[in-house]
């Protein structure tokens, strides 16, 4: 049991990368069970940290098909019900092609290619600015 817990958290750890901003790098495969677990972890963490932005990085996800896309969409809808905004990052050109070809409607879900871009958006949402020291 302990191993299983470790395994899951290693594959999708939830990090607070800035106050009010969570980062979840997801790797491996996403089936409905994992998606459910990931969603529950994210929801708990949002409530615990009162985060407004959640960056889900899917660069390490092996297969992105319509089922996986729907799992991701579900998670973003769930975060919305907690007043938070989900940004999916790690979208590479091949994935973008697959998603569009599958006719998956990402609708309101924000997506970005890199975590850095997603972080920029999260900062915007939080009203934060990065300024160089003088």
């Amino acid at each position: 049991m302990a191993n299983k817990k470790e395994n899951n958290s290693v594959l999708a750890p939830v990090n607070v990368i800035w106050e009010g901003i969570l980062l979840i790098p997801i790797s491996g495969t996403i089936d409905s069970k994992r998606a459910q677990e990931i969603m529950e972890t994210i929801l708990k963490k949002i409530i615990e940290t009162k985060s407004k932005s959640v960056i889900m990085d899917v660069l390490g996800v092996v297969t992105v098909d319509s089922a996986v896309a729907n799992h991701l969409i579900k998670i973003t809808k769930a975060t919305k019900l907690l007043g938070a905004r989900c940004i999916v990052s790690g979208i590479v050109p091949e994935i973008a092609q697959i998603i569009v070809a599958l006719g998956v409607d990402l609708g309101e879900v924000d997506t970005r290619a890199d975590i850095a871009d997603a972080l920029e958006l999260a900062f915007e949402v939080a009203g934060l600015e990065v300024v160089k020291r003088k």
Partner: protein, 161 residues
């Protein structure tokens, strides 16, 4: 047929020009309808511009009940008020998502406090005391017109001295 207005068991109070509705009891269809009517009546009667419905005391919310609550938000917007829904728990969210519940574009916040913050721009601001500057300005200008030359000379005079 006159019916007495039956108030729901849910207490509602106005704070910071917003109607705060903390729901601490388990909901059922009739109660949701009653709450809806109470809210709409108060929003209209007291000309309120903001409503926060806090669901942190609710453990179970099926899609029908949720629909009732979220519909209330849509209804208040038709009355010119804005409703924010707060306090959904992780468990409630997970079950609503499973049931493919669509919240629409109803604003949602995590806590009651954040809900009130979200409403601030939409709620009528407290009346500020009228600026007294303008009448004074006029007087100043009149005086200035008369003494303009004198003042200017004085200023220059000082420098030269």
């Amino acid at each position: 047929m006159e019916e007495e207005i039956t108030l729901s068991k849910v207490g509602m109070h106005v704070t910071r020009d917003c109607l705060v509705v903390p729901i601490q009891v388990e909901l059922h269809d009739e109660l949701v309808t009653q709450i809806q009517e109470d809210i709409l009546r108060r929003v209209k009667g007291e000309r309120l511009k903001g409503v926060v419905i806090d669901l942190s005391g609710v453990a179970i919310l099926d899609s029908v009940l949720a629909r009732g609550v979220f519909d209330t938000a849509q209804m208040t917007s038709l009355l010119g008020a804005r409703t924010v829904i707060t306090g959904l728990s992780a468990g409630v969210v997970a079950s609503l998502i499973d049931l493919d519940f669509e919240p629409g574009n109803v604003p949602i916040a995590l806590t009651l406090d954040e809900g009130l913050q979200t409403l601030e721009p939409y709620v009528k601001p407290k009346e500020e005391p009228e600026e007294a500057e303008e009448p004074e300005k006029e007087i100043d200008q009149d005086e200035k017109d008369e003494t303009d030359e004198d003042e200017e000379l004085e200023g220059y005079g000082k420098d030269e001295e």
